[in-house]
Symmetry: C2
Subunit: 230 residues, 2 copies
């Protein structure tokens, strides 16, 4: 469950709308550039327009939707440029995460993460893609929590959402983009007290993800240019 800061109380319906859209985006039932009309969401969730706008603002803040003035809310579609910026940032931030966890976090806390990876694998095996994608993202956020830096966790949480949105738009279901094997590898390095190894594993993991998403975006671009010629 995604936590948000106190900014006017949050009704349970608003919370539901947020997570619904989040899940729908991650399961790419809501493809990028889909328009979300306020009135439509009002009817679906029985909320006042004001509340809908509040949730949309939160989604925009987390980078999941783009809010165009006088034109409405659209599911975000990160450009390749933004994609590489995200991963560059994540490299810097998750390096700090690993550093702090390796230095400070007790090994007992890592058990929780191992459970998560187990569930990740289960979801993958069952073909439950939305759950898998969500857990795959949560792994990085939960790891960040162990760093003890709340600010870092919050920023990384948003960044992971955006990254996941990027990945969710990839249409190759056979390819696993953010492997639980990698996650398990990072965990075992941390358990063994091998900080340098953990740093390397994380760096490679992120670099792999970045490359994969960049490649598929390139493919998408080629496809478009191919259509242009016809």
């Amino acid at each position: 469950m995604v936590k948000r800061k106190a900014a006017g109380q949050i009704s349970s319906d608003e919370d539901r709308m947020y997570t619904d859209i989040y899940d729908a985006v991650m399961g790419h039932r809501l493809p990028p550039q889909t328009k979300l009309t306020e009135l439509g969401l009002c009817e679906i969730y029985g909320l006042a327009r004001h509340s809908v706008r509040k949730v949309l603002a939160q989604l925009a803040e987390d980078g999941l939707v783009d809010l165009l003035p006088n034109r409405g809310a659209y599911i975000a579609s990160p450009s390749p440029q933004e994609g590489s910026e995200m991963f560059e940032l994540r490299q810097a931030l998750e390096r700090l995460v690993i550093h702090n966890v390796a230095e400070q976090a007790p090994a007992t806390k890592l058990a929780h993460l191992k459970d998560m990876v187990r569930h990740e694998r289960e979801a993958w095996n069952k073909g439950d893609r939305p759950t898998w994608i969500r857990l795959s993202a949560d792994f990085h956020v939960e790891l960040a929590k162990l760093s003890g830096n709340a600010l870092l966790t919050d920023i990384l949480r948003r960044l992971v959402s955006r990254t996941t949105l990027l990945i969710a738009s990839i249409e190759s279901p056979g390819q696993n983009v953010c492997s639980f094997d990698d996650h398990l590898d990072i965990l075992s390095k941390l358990e063994a007290g091998d900080k340098t190894g953990a740093l390397k594993s994380m760096a490679r993991h992120l670099s792999d993800c970045a490359q994969r998403s960049a490649k598929t975006e390139e493919k998408r671009f080629d496809l478009r240019s191919a259509l242009m010629q016809s």
Copy 2:
């Protein structure tokens, strides 16, 4: 001037309110924990309450005010814990900034920054503390812009605001907390192509700032405990 993303158009009055409060906080004319009542701000800026609430939400998003449900908006007062978290993050992010600027940015772009530092020194010499603090913060943001990573710039901008708020609450006007000498040092290292040196200068600069703010916060705490005994 602080740029914000498109999220419903921004009237010039709303913009003015944002920058006014920003400046007032930085010049510590608005000390932490000061309450900002909506109606008061409405009268001052001739805005509707709705607009005021929108700006307050933005300020909260940037970490300058705390928004307590049903209790109103208060100028934020970062705890020592948050303070150290901020600087830890800035160390990681600004290392990335320096790295990118050293690798990519053309030296000609650095001229602009040199001008800024000049103005910084002027403001300091004139005793214009608000302007100095603002320029001192802007230096880091403008440097981040040269990194070419818009996401990084945006995150760092908020972080710098929060840091500056922390620093602004320090009551020793004689002490310069974020020296332009340091800024100049970083610039010259970058100009000379000395990436390692620039990284070190930046790291030391931030570490100095962190230490100073931590020290004064400790002092404040002592003062409070002293009052408790009376």
